[in-house]
Symmetry: C2
Subunit: 277 residues, 2 copies
Amino acid sequence: MTKEACETCHPETCTSTTCETKKAEKLPSKDINHIKHVIGIMSGKGGVGKSSVTALLAVALARESYQVGILDADITGPSIPKMFNIHRPLQGSDLGIFPAESPLGIKIISLNLLLPQEDDPVIWRGPLIASAVKQFWTDVLWGELDYLLVDLPPGTGDAPLTVMQSFPLAGIVIVTSPQELANMIVRKAIKMASLMKVKILGLVENMSYILCPDCGKEIYIFGPSRAEEAAAKAGIPLLGVLPLDPELTTLCDHGKIESYQGMLLERVQGFISRISL
Amino acid sequence: MTKEACETCHPETCTSTTCETKKAEKLPSKDINHIKHVIGIMSGKGGVGKSSVTALLAVALARESYQVGILDADITGPSIPKMFNIHRPLQGSDLGIFPAESPLGIKIISLNLLLPQEDDPVIWRGPLIASAVKQFWTDVLWGELDYLLVDLPPGTGDAPLTVMQSFPLAGIVIVTSPQELANMIVRKAIKMASLMKVKILGLVENMSYILCPDCGKEIYIFGPSRAEEAAAKAGIPLLGVLPLDPELTTLCDHGKIESYQGMLLERVQGFISRISL
């Protein structure tokens, strides 16, 4: 579809990888910011648990004493602040915007921290969404970070496009579920990254199964795992497979993800060791 | 956030409900189209099964001999064609675009039916997305329909905004999951509908529980149901609650949703009887 996009070619909206006018400049960041690795977390399809995986990655990294930030690029459906029980509005100065900080020291920026009420809708068209995402990079005082995780919204529209064009990404992690339907849409995300020449660091299959709390049986609610097949087909590394853990869901709902001690965390630590930056 | 949107006020992007320049005209449709009820299906949050609910509603209505169409407004993450096993490209004539038709006679329009390959990404910014959604209304030869169901993408951005501004909606059905986090984002969708003066026909709670195939226990994977509380809080009718049915997931993955005979269908028929148009 890039051809059609080219018919309306303009550096602001162009998605072509060949067009010379495009060559989107990476956006500058504040002088005080020193961010070693910027990693996008993407899925294409919503509801596969991308934000939970982003948050778990951040918690796992913070527990290993890394300096971590999360840039919530899901402008119209932000999930991150609630998982960390952060509700207070962001503060700014002449220098820029200060990110919120979790008890573990994870720095967080999300549009929800700029709303009068957390359930106020952000009824914005694409250009405003793209501009907010850019400001989260250019105007925020992130300081020193080992990792900045960028939680992308579902789809392949304005926010992922802006992040891929304008942020100095080390690469992206793709989150999927075993549902074939989800995989079809996830393949769109993989193709988009390839078109935009962004490195794919690996695939995480989430919600692979659930353990029946009564009989312990593994229930494959979305069908059998297709993680290995999907990763091989896309030619990208499989970072691992995560079951659904109702304990994690409950903690996320109560803003206590940082106190999670369950088995997912160990697996996520395994993913991190398999990411090659 | 409407105030901030107003600062960049332009009829094309304005989301204000008070601004006089806005008063978005409802878009004209083809002369041969006679559509009795246009209903949006919305969730705010992705992955709550909105497209499955849309498809089940269409199947239930078609089985009751209604003429039904589905307009897949999820431009960057379309799920509908695959559920109905429709892959062939759309055909057009000087008169307009012919929708695809399922074995049950459900008419379907989706951007995926215009792509060379179904997993090609549509890397479009907002204005192109809004324009595609509009064309699905203005340029498609729907003919006589009792119901046109509009499957909206997650979020409160371009596609939902365009549909609410430009389509003659009878109202919208909101789909949610028991997860409090999902509900917070769903409340954004409810507030958006209210700001846009679109009637909310009711709330469907999806993925409420799963039955363990071994011991039959109801497992509340996303926590206890909060449907009644959520509907009462929002002041909207509760149409009903749907468990996760792995059989439905499998049928959707294989494009056979129309052969589904499980218990969800009966419940969806119940929802329809509770919708007051």
